[in-house]
Amino acid sequence: MSRIADQNTNQDSNQIQVRHLVKEYKRKKNKGNVRKALAGMFRPDYEVLRAVDNISFTIGRGEAVGYVGPNGSGKSTTIKMLCGILTPTEGGILVNGIVPQQERMKNNKKIGVVFGNRSLLWWDVPVIESYRLFQRLYEIPPNRFKENLDRFTEIMGIGPLLGIPERQLSLGQKMRCNIAAAFLHNPEIVYLDEPTIGLDSESKASIRECIRRMNEEEKTTFIVTSHDFQDIETLCRRIILINHGRVVVDDDMQKVKLDFNREKRIQFEVDSNPWYHKGMPSMEGVRITDEKPHSITLEYDVEKVSSIHIMQQVSKLCEIKDVAISGRDIEAIIRDIIRKDNHSI
């Protein structure tokens, strides 16, 4: 299902090309007892972990791509290879026509990176001092620096924070300062690894707004990994889903929703749940996703069973107080795809 890079198209539509990418980690085997662990100090026993397994895709200039998957699926590993931090075991990466690992510094000038769990600023000094150092690092001309500083200070609302050392900032403030830092040098590509992890909804909103604006106004390319599907849904038109290091879906967000949204969710509020702790008799195309003493949540395939039929079945056994029917959000869709993929392995 992955889009294989077309070698003949020009660089503009193929800003990032990833071909048959593989990354393996060597990991010492856990021995279980101390005696074996001591023996392992001298004759280590390695097992090979394939974190990224033959991934290929291309991303064009100005695209915003959501790179999603469960924990340990290889998202961060891929991002780190794209930035040039890690060297691939096999396969190739071209970013703006260069190999990031070979010409790392040249590549770094054109990219911005935000790690949700790792700050890029200096811990002990006021934020503005970190920015001034970035000006030197990226050789940003003074006029442009001032312009960008004013612009992102305003977008991210960090004006009052510039004089405060990073260690005294809250998590959300820190993250906003980091995002602004990633844009100071007008990067062509920005990689965001879990940018909203642990943030409140207001901080999330301002970060999303910033990214959306930069994508529209500057045609900046974005690759976002996130567990927050609202991030992905508001920011990205395209989604690449990986599981066990392999691409499972690489498609337009709207199309994924249509293709996989055959299922709906129905939620009942009832006087007492007849199946609580007993299990529900199986009904074709229906699955219980959540049950509490006074509520039942079911997911069902609209082509196999109708909501009326389900309601009739439930109303026979208890008194329904309220009903809500909803299409599933992208999160539920992704969960379903992952579950199917895990089964097929």
Binding site: R118, R132, Y138, D193
Partner: protein, 264 residues
């Protein structure tokens, strides 16, 4: 040339940040300074006491030993002022913070060094400089252009050797997590370099000349200044610095290539 200008500007930026940190934590700075002086002085006092009682070590008298000590200590202080961050390789690899350095458009090694400066070490450089001058005066070695040039050569080459060796052993952390212990072992071995190597058996002497050349950080240059060694020191010093420098650059590069980051 443009690259050089870029790094000069960058270095200035790092020094500015370093200064700001220094002002942020004044107590930390004072404690650091005291501990550094105590550490160097304690070793020195031991040697001086022994030399005083025994009337010297081998054919080295008290002032010659002071000269040797001064040379060693100045180089170590320069290393602590500007190259101390090579000791942070271990932590950066273990915690994965090397990532931050690798996404920026400047040489990773320069960025690593720029993380922190120990300005207080500049004060120790002055103190040990004074020890050297004092020892030279007592040894009645006449100052001249030749000696000044040699001292400059010494400072540059010995700093490369000293910090290069630390870089090599700290870079092993890229392959063995927690390899810092080995680097600490090497630093402990360096204690030998504060003594005139001539008093040790050939085995130890060869080890600090050919394997881990700490001999060039103090013993050989001091022997040259004191007239106990010939001009071969003037020639071998840059050769040794070149070899150590190249080896350090090679191992650092190799290490970065096999850097695996951490799960996030």
């Amino acid at each position: 040339m443009r690259r050089l200008w870029y790094y000069a500007r960058l270095w200035k930026g790092y020094m500015r940040i370093g200064l700001l940190i220094l002002v942020q934590y004044p107590a930390d700075t004072v404690i650091w300074l005291v501990s550094m002086i105590l550490r160097e002085a304690s070793g020195f006092l031991g040697v001086v006491t022994i030399a005083n009682v025994a009337g010297g070590l081998g054919n080295w008298n008290l002032y010659e030993i002071c000269l040797l000590f001064g040379l060693c200590a100045v180089v170590e202080a320069i290393g602590q002022a500007f190259f101390d961050c090579v000791w942070e390789i271990s932590g950066s690899v273990r915690k994965g913070t090397m990532d931050v350095i690798l996404v920026r458009p400047a040489a990773p090694f320069i960025q690593l060094l720029g993380r922190r400066f120990h300005y207080p070490a500049l004060l120790s450089i002055i103190i040990y400089g004074a020890v050297i001058v004092w020892a030279l005066a007592h040894l009645r070695i006449a100052p001249g252009v030749g000696m000044l040039l040699f001292l400059i050569e010494f400072i540059v080459c010995a700093t490369v050797i000293n910090s290069g060796i630390y870089t090599i052993f700290n870079s092993f952390n890229f392959w063995i997590v927690q390899g810092e212990d080995m680097a600490v072992l090497v630093q402990t071995c360096r204690e030998f370099a504060k003594y005139p190597l001539a008093v040790f058996p050939v085995l130890i002497r060869s080890f600090f000349t050919f394997i881990i050349p700490f001999g060039f950080v103090g013993f050989y240059p001091a022997a040259f200044l004191a007239g106990k060694a010939g001009t071969e020191v003037v020639l071998t010093l840059p050769l040794c610095a070149g070899a150590v420098g190249l080896a350090a650059a090679f191992i650092w590069k190799k290490g970065l290539g096999s850097y695996d980051s951490t799960g996030t």
